[in-house]
């Protein structure tokens, strides 16, 4: 009973937030002094970031695997799309599909054996994967543009409004897929496999297979989101889709929003991007402040923003 009540609370909350998000493009008509295109641009990146964080939370919160290299999957997708768009001149949609395939294939090649290892080893392999991808991109600078990055000929749209709607729609669809998966019976098995693999296996579930399925979904969503992001930005560069700093931000967003909540990751991502904008006058120190806030949240509210909210609901 509590469970359905909670999920309906989450559902109602999501609808309200979504309605508010849909109103943002029309803000300019009400309060003319707000720089709407600028606000839309910030939120558009934040929505793609939210998909990165949700994909990460599926692995961490449910499968119990720490992926230190979400940007390996994101970067693979982004660079696959950018290269194909540049060299083969495919239109955007096939490029995005290719990005999903690339992220899935690369992720499986590297992570499949690692998923069978216990402890911090999976985390280490994923960390190394990011460093390797970064090195490979720099080594093949002739095609990838190296550290400077590469531009893509096609962009989603040049209108801030259209880009915002595309990002919002993409976020909603991704959230529905990932949240639906996590809330289904498959998600429950996954959660059991993450928390006590021995017992889950004793109940007759193939732990490796379920973790692999979750990893594949996470890889596909990350790769597609990475590709969408670079088609929004019009360029792909290591600093934006591969660098470890971005990986850390994805992790902070998910933990800040509340692990094992999926939707909390979106809140965390939007909060993080907005905080970055608000703290912009601090210059270099803004990263310091964001890291400090995240550390304090972890120390005092380890369940994160949404997790805290849901727990209060449970106690009532």
């Amino acid at each position: 009973m509590t469970r359905s009540l909670l999920s309906s609370r989450v559902f109602l909350g999501s609808v309200v937030v979504l309605a508010l998000a849909a109103l943002v493009p029309f803000l300019g008509r009400v309060v003319p002094f707000i720089a709407v295109p600028y606000a839309l641009g910030v939120l558009t990146s934040a929505y793609y970031f939210g998909v990165f964080a949700m994909s990460w939370d599926l692995l961490f919160g449910y499968a119990g695997e720490v992926n230190f290299g979400p940007t390996f999957l994101i970067g693979l997708g982004a660079y696959a799309a950018a290269l194909i768009n540049n060299i083969l001149h495919w239109p955007i949609l096939p490029c995005v599909i290719a990005a999903a395939v690339a992220a899935l294939a690369g992720g499986l090649m590297l992570a499949l054996p690692a998923l069978r290892l216990r402890g911090p080893y999976f985390g280490l392999v994923t960390l190394v994967a990011v460093l390797l991808l970064q090195d490979v991109i720099v080594v093949f600078a002739h095609w990838t543009g190296g550290e400077i990055g590469m531009t893509v000929p096609d962009v989603l749209s040049i209108s801030a409004d259209t880009n915002y709607w595309i990002a919002l729609a993409f976020l909603v669809v991704s959230a529905a897929i990932i949240y639906g998966y996590a809330r289904s019976s498959l998600g429950l098995i996954l959660q059991a496999a993450g928390q006590d693999p021995v017992e889950a296996a004793a109940l007759g579930f193939n732990v490796a297979k379920h973790k692999l399925a979750a990893f594949s979904l996470s890889a596909i969503m990350s790769g597609v989101a990475g590709a969408m992001l670079i088609f929004y930005l019009g360029s792909a560069s290591v600093d934006v889709v591969v660098d470890l700093a971005i990986a850390v931000q994805v992790i902070i967003a998910a933990v800040l929003g509340g692990r094992r909540t999926i939707l909390g990751s979106v809140i965390g991502a939007v909060f993080l991007i907005l905080a970055g904008q608000v703290l912009l006058p601090l210059g270099q120190l803004s990263t310091f402040v964001v890291a400090l806030i995240a550390l304090l949240v972890i120390l005092f509210f380890p369940d994160g923003l949404l997790g805290q909210f849901l727990h209060v609901g449970e106690r009532e």
Binding site: P120, L124, V128, V248, T287, F288, I298, L299
Partner: protein, 291 residues
């Protein structure tokens, strides 16, 4: 000739890696904590030594000493700000402590990195060498400082071995890494042993940091790569195994040096990463791992 050069150069950098990684692995062995702010400890030591030598004219040795003290202070700060509160938190389930400590030390490392970048910029600083001049080792012209680094690293590790195998506190430390529960049953306070291991870690990482500052220089940008290399060495050698870390440090150090000499200096980190991935697939417990 080139072979000798690689041998001599690789030895110095590997010894430094070994010293840094031994502290890292000790903490894991005793308390199961992987400190992702490790690079921060090393760079803090080098930065403070450089600052003190330049501004307060303490002389090179005095500056090195103050740098090491700063590293100890930073190690304690890491423990009290980012590790102990999580170990004691009731809101965090036991099986998730490990990942929470990974995240909190990572955030702590980012904080120190941005703070150093803000106050000292990201330009690398070079601590003056402890001894000037050059000597010939195996007919390779080598800075005396490089020889001193290798000697000092091994001296410190020998002292550590004496401490662990000959003193009461050291034996308690070793026992804590084998079976902490039995140790508490024998009447030892585990929290004091944790403090001791963080102090030793501070000394080791501090010495490694100052020496690195005299050899390659140090900047806030090094913090991430230094942590990553210590992490790889420790996994390669086997989590918690000190001899394993020593061997792995030389494997990684020499692979980097060989690549830098024979292929290209910019690619120096790639072969070590590939070896690491291969080892994880073939022998995930590392060279001398316990599991």
């Amino acid at each position: 000739m080139l072979g000798y050069e690689i041998f001599v150069d690789g030895f110095a950098i590997s010894s430094l890696y070994a010293l840094g990684a031994v502290g890292f692995t000790l903490i894991f062995g005793v308390s199961g904590v992987l400190n992702l702010a490790h690079g921060g400890t090393m760079v803090v030591a080098a930065m403070i030594a450089w600052l003190v030598i330049g501004d307060l004219h303490t002389g090179v040795l005095g500056g090195a000493l103050i740098g090491i003290i700063a590293a100890i202070a930073f190690a304690f700060a890491t423990y009290f700000a980012a590790v102990r509160p999580i170990q004691r938190s009731r809101a965090i389930p036991k099986e998730e402590t490990e990942i929470f400590i990974l995240t909190s030390t990572l955030l702590w490392g980012i904080m120190i990195q941005t703070a150093i970048a803000y106050f000292f910029t990201t330009n690398p600083v070079t601590v003056p060498p402890l001894v000037p001049g050059v000597v010939h080792v195996l007919s390779v012209r080598t800075p005396s400082n490089e020889v001193l680094i290798a000697v000092l690293c091994w001296l410190v590790m020998a002292l550590l071995w004496l401490f662990v195998s000959r003193t009461r506190a050291g034996k308690a430390l070793l026992a804590a890494s084998i079976n902490p529960r039995a140790l508490t049953l024998c009447g030892f306070e585990l929290s004091r042993i944790h403090l001791l291991v963080w102090a030793i870690y501070g000394v080791l990482a501090g010495i490694a940091g100052v020496l690195l500052g005299t050899y390659l220089g140090a900047s806030s940008d090094n913090i991430g790569p230094l942590t990553a290399s210590a992490f790889s060495i420790v996994i390669l050698g086997g989590l918690g195994s000190v001899p394993g870390s020593l061997i792995a440090a030389y494997v990684v150090g020499y692979f980097e040096t060989i690549t830098a000499y024979l292929v290209a200096p910019t690619l120096r980190s790639i072969p070590a990463l590939i070896i690491l991935v291969l080892v994880l697939y073939i022998r995930p417990q590392g060279i001398l791992g316990r599991r």
